[in-house]
């Protein structure tokens, strides 16, 4: 079962540079979307890759959907050789995304994010604008409803802000 608190805690405690994106970011921004995995966009420098390995290794990450006998070593070298990974871990499914479609790498994603207090920890979360941008870029049929929801959310929040300023 997904344990977002544990995931954020281990990433934070190991000084991983990441932005929470995807469904969980949408939930934090106010979406009623239900999602079972955690998507994070991560910085790809050597130090960060080592920090990710230190943070997640205790939770036995394994390539989601891969045969159990497939040899897999979760280390910085493996992360360096790939870009986007989908992992199953003891604390839930975690997707590590090196590059977000429609936005770019970690630094680009950071420009579309905001720092929010989650479980009393500062956490960079993709803003609604970024979520819409990435969902539109992916262009999947199933994302259409999420784009509509996010656009409505953006409008509701805008109206809230305008009311506050009156």
């Amino acid at each position: 079962m997904l344990d977002l608190k544990e995931i954020l805690t281990t990433l934070r405690n190991n000084n991983v540079h990441f932005v929470l994106i995807g469904g969980q970011a949408a939930v934090i921004q106010g979406s009623a979307y239900l999602t079972r995995d955690v998507d994070i966009c991560y910085a790809r420098d050597k130090e960060n890759l080592e920090n990710i390995v230190r943070a997640l290794a205790p939770f036995h990450p394994y390539l989601r959907g891969a045969p159990k006998d497939l040899p897999f070593i979760f280390d910085a070298k493996t992360l360096h050789l790939g870009l986007n990974f989908t992992f199953s871990t003891d604390i839930g499914d975690i997707d590590l995304i090196g590059e977000v479609k429609g936005i770019g790498n970690y630094n680009d994603v950071l420009n579309y994010s905001e720092t929010l207090e989650i479980y009393e920890m500062p956490c960079d979360v993709l803003k609604i604008e970024g979520l819409i941008r990435s969902k539109k870029a992916v262009g999947r049929q199933k994302d259409q409803i999420h784009v509509k929801e996010l656009e409505a959310l953006r409008e509701i929040r805008k109206q809230h802000e305008e009311k506050k300023n009156i």
Binding site: I28, G30, L34, L116, Q144, K148, E151, R154, H160
Partner: protein, 93 residues
């Protein structure tokens, strides 16, 4: 400049914009069209038309980010329980 007499010209707007009385029915209809256009284009209306329950969005926006995650977590657990119950029922039948 002549001083305006107090109490005159009250109905006139300082911006020079026409009041509804002065607009005429044709212009009023144009305004109505614009308003209904906006309603169609409004993202909230579009979401409703798409089948999204926007009242849920108003509700979640009253919560803090952590509370939103906790609510989501509870919903996920409920969904998981329902899934397991369905699986058990199917296994029995």
């Amino acid at each position: 400049m002549a001083k305006r007499k107090k109490g005159t010209n009250r109905s006139r707007r300082p911006t020079g914009r026409a009041t509804f009385d002065e607009m005429g029915s044709e212009n009023i209809n144009k305004v109505k069209e614009k308003v209904s256009d906006y309603k169609i284009r409004s993202p909230i209306q579009e979401a409703i038309d798409f089948g999204i329950d926007v009242t849920l969005l108003y509700d979640t926006l009253t919560l803090t980010p952590t509370e939103r995650i906790e609510l989501h977590q509870r919903m996920l657990e409920t969904a998981e329980e329902l899934r397991k119950a369905g699986k058990r029922k199917n296994a029995r039948s």
